[in-house]
């Protein structure tokens, strides 16, 4: 393998300046960039505390608001997971944990983590903060709508949290909210709980659509001069594709929420067939529960990639910056992101192999699902090939990236098990599934989030996070999380079904008591380790080492603002002009080992740059 990778001769024919291709007059001027198409953006600058920090139209502040709100819900989710693990590891020890509360915790934990933490954090948090900075815009294109978007999200969170306090408590129908069970008695929170959940989701979708339109249009229509799509950092590609997916997938969630609300409130029968409860037939008739599952997963599968793609993008950037090497196969990475995004709309029913849908769908969805494995695997190869022959800084950021690779590969491969229809039959609805999706869309994206926070904290606050605490945080989180979820696969092999309040007395389940105790212990430790991180955040905000400009020696635009942290309007007097992609690290002939995107070719004449 390594022979093929020996340094080829420079493919100078690849050098191609867009300027000379389009302008006609720029044949000789290697620094030429097309003039601005659009006038300067008109911005509203807040004057009071309220317009500056609360109802703020600055995408950076909105990003931080999103992040803090999402992290708050995340902490709630974390505490819920602790309580679940208390029950599973030490059943009967905690009398306040009844089956009802357990199922309510399962549900709220799932929904909070997937939608209100990961989606909101990646797109609302990182998206808002990074998009305008990384594409060289002054702000999002519709700052006002962007502000409303955050407050919609905020209200959605409030409604969600309110469901903890209504009679009957929050819904306990599992995060998939499958009818008929979700709205029938016998499921905790089938009264107000489920209604508030559906309302909260609808609000989230509406709020998110507002934000999502902003992200998409900012990326498509408000890039700075010289910033072509193929020069964008992969972070932006990931967030962009994920946002497009969200805009097209959330409608299915909205529709299923509306229909289920009607089933609950008006007793329509969209998802409700004839149901016998306590010997009496309810008034429902003729509906189709499987339809809900189709709608839900038509949203739900893209949702997986809504979480995963930004993580892919961000981790590519982090790995590239901290191994001082260009990302390997940038173009393939972009195509892989777009391809995965597009394919994700054709694979939804692989969550439903044993749901009783038309059995013939198994062939179609197994095939499409495994096709997705190919671009995903390529991305993994490219990450490790980026490390290869790099100059790797082993700091906290890089550690989280390495942790991501291990957990993601692990979870991705168990995904191939579950996507392959016949293998899924014995494994579906068991702990194998739990282990799989926590590994691949729980731990792996969280690794990226932590890495990204350690990476961009100096930009947001002007100070580094504490490295020593960071390393403790990483090792406990990574090793702990791995030892939670790796053994959990084997519970699935035994055949322990998911969503079991207690393992009861089946012989093969009792054999796993020890493992359950161990997993619970690990979960408590990992959860507690997050408070090291929060302490680090608070401490470093005040006392962290000052970072200065571009502390990581990165190339992408967000580090090149005149002020650190960037102020409203981002760029001061003049918008930056981009001359190259974001990955010119270690270019032979250049003085430094990195060439920022704004560096004009004439400034680094000797650099043997391959690609612009």
């Amino acid at each position: 393998m390594s022979d093929e990778l020996n340094i080829n001769k420079k493919r100078n024919d690849q050098i191609k300046t867009k300027s000379s291709a389009t302008s006609g007059r720029g044949e000789t001027d290697i620094d030429y960039v097309r003039p601005a198409e659009l006038p300067e953006q008109d911005l509203y600058h807040g004057h009071s505390f309220i317009t500056k920090w609360i109802f703020c139209q600055d995408a950076k502040v909105i990003g931080v608001q999103y992040t803090l709100t999402a992290v708050f819900t995340g902490v709630v989710g974390l505490i819920l997971s602790w309580m679940m693990r208390m029950q599973l590891g030490y059943p009967d020890l905690f009398p306040f944990l009844t089956a009802e509360t357990y199922y309510q915790m399962v549900t709220m934990h799932g929904m909070i983590m997937v939608v209100y933490l990961l989606t909101a954090l990646f797109l609302g948090g990182f998206g808002n903060y990074l998009i305008p900075l990384m594409v060289g815009a002054r702000d999002m294109v519709f700052p006002y709508v962007n502000m409303i978007s955050f407050w919609m999200f905020f209200v959605a969170v409030v409604v969600l949290m309110a469901s903890f306090f209504v009679p009957g408590g929050p819904t306990g129908s599992g995060w998939t909210l499958y009818p008929p069970q979700a709205i029938l008695e016998g499921t905790p929170g089938s009264g107000y709980g489920i209604l508030l959940m559906l309302i909260s989701l609808s609000l989230f979708v509406i709020g998110f659509t507002m934000g999502g339109l902003n992200y998409v249009i900012t990326i498509l229509q408000a890039r700075t001069r010289g910033m072509s799509l193929m020069r964008m950092p992969l972070t932006i590609w990931g967030i962009f594709t994920a946002t497009v997916l969200a805009l097209l997938a959330f409608p299915a969630l909205l529709v299923s929420s509306i229909m289920m609300t009607l089933d609950k409130v008006l007793e329509t029968s969209f998802f409700m067939p004839t149901i016998i409860k306590a010997g009496e037939a309810l008034s429902y008739d003729g509906g189709s529960p499987i339809l809900f599952q189709h709608l839900f997963w038509f949203f739900g599968h893209p949702e997986v990639y809504i979480v995963a793609l930004p993580a892919f993008g961000i981790v590519s950037d982090l790995i590239s910056v901290h191994s001082r090497k260009n990302i390997f196969g940038y173009r393939m990475m972009v195509w892989a992101i777009v391809g995965i995004g597009a394919l994700s709309f054709f694979v939804w029913a692989h969550h439903m192999y044993v749901s009783g849908m038309s059995p013939w769908f198994g062939f179609f969805f197994a095939t499409t699902t495994l096709i997705i494995a190919v671009p995903t695997a390529l991305k993994v190869y490219n990450w490790i090939l980026t490390l290869w022959r790099g100059n790797i800084r082993i700091n906290t950021v890089m550690l989280f990236c390495l942790g991501f690779i291990v957990t993601f590969v692990n979870g991705g491969i168990t995904g191939i098990f579950l996507g392959n229809v016949a293998v899924d039959v014995p494994l579906s609805d068991t702990y194998f599934v739990i282990a799989h999706f926590h590994m691949v869309m729980g731990i792996a994206p969280l690794m990226v989030i932590f890495g990204a926070i350690y990476h961009w904290f100096p930009l947001v606050t002007g100070r580094f996070l504490d490295e020593k605490l960071g390393k403790w945080h990483f090792w406990i989180t990574f090793l702990g999380a791995y030892s939670i979820y790796f053994p959990m696969h084997y519970l699935g092999f035994i055949g322990v079904p998911r969503r079991y309040f207690e393992m009861y007395d089946s012989p093969y389940m009792t054999s796993a008591v020890g493992m359950n105790e161990f997993i619970s212990l690990a979960a408590f430790i990992v959860g507690a380790a997050q408070f090291i991180f929060f302490y680090n955040l608070v401490k470093s905000l005040r006392l962290g080492k000052p970072a200065g400009k571009n502390p990581w020696k990165a190339n992408s635009l967000e580090w090149l603002t005149p002020d650190v942290p960037p102020t409203h309007g981002n760029w001061g007097e003049k918008l930056p002009v981009v001359h190259r992609w974001a990955y010119d690290y270690g270019v032979p002939g250049a003085k430094e080992d990195y060439i920022p995107q704004t560096t004009a070719p004439s400034e680094v004449k000797d650099a043997e740059v391959e690609k612009t």
Partner: protein, 111 residues
Amino acid sequence: MTEVKKEQTTTHKIGIYLWIWGLLFVLSFFSYMVDWYNFQGLLRWSLILFFMFLKAGLIMAFFMHLFWERYALVNVLLWPMTAIACFVGLMVAEGKYTVFSRLFYFFVGGA
């Protein structure tokens, strides 16, 4: 909001709008006639879909100016429809399967 210079945007003769407008009336009338003459089966379906797509196409192309837009926008808007097409196709299959299993195993009391 930015002002893209509008001078370049070609305005279109009023005739084209009136012409499309008329065409939409005629097509709506035709699709109404499908019901009026009570066509059934495949003929009904193909006529309904034909008129529907023709009308939708006219509205999108001329009233919504897609005909005059650059291909980048047009393609971005039309490709996602394949996902919907896939969804529709599979759900038709699923609906048929459901009704098959219902009729095959259930008796439908009275009705």
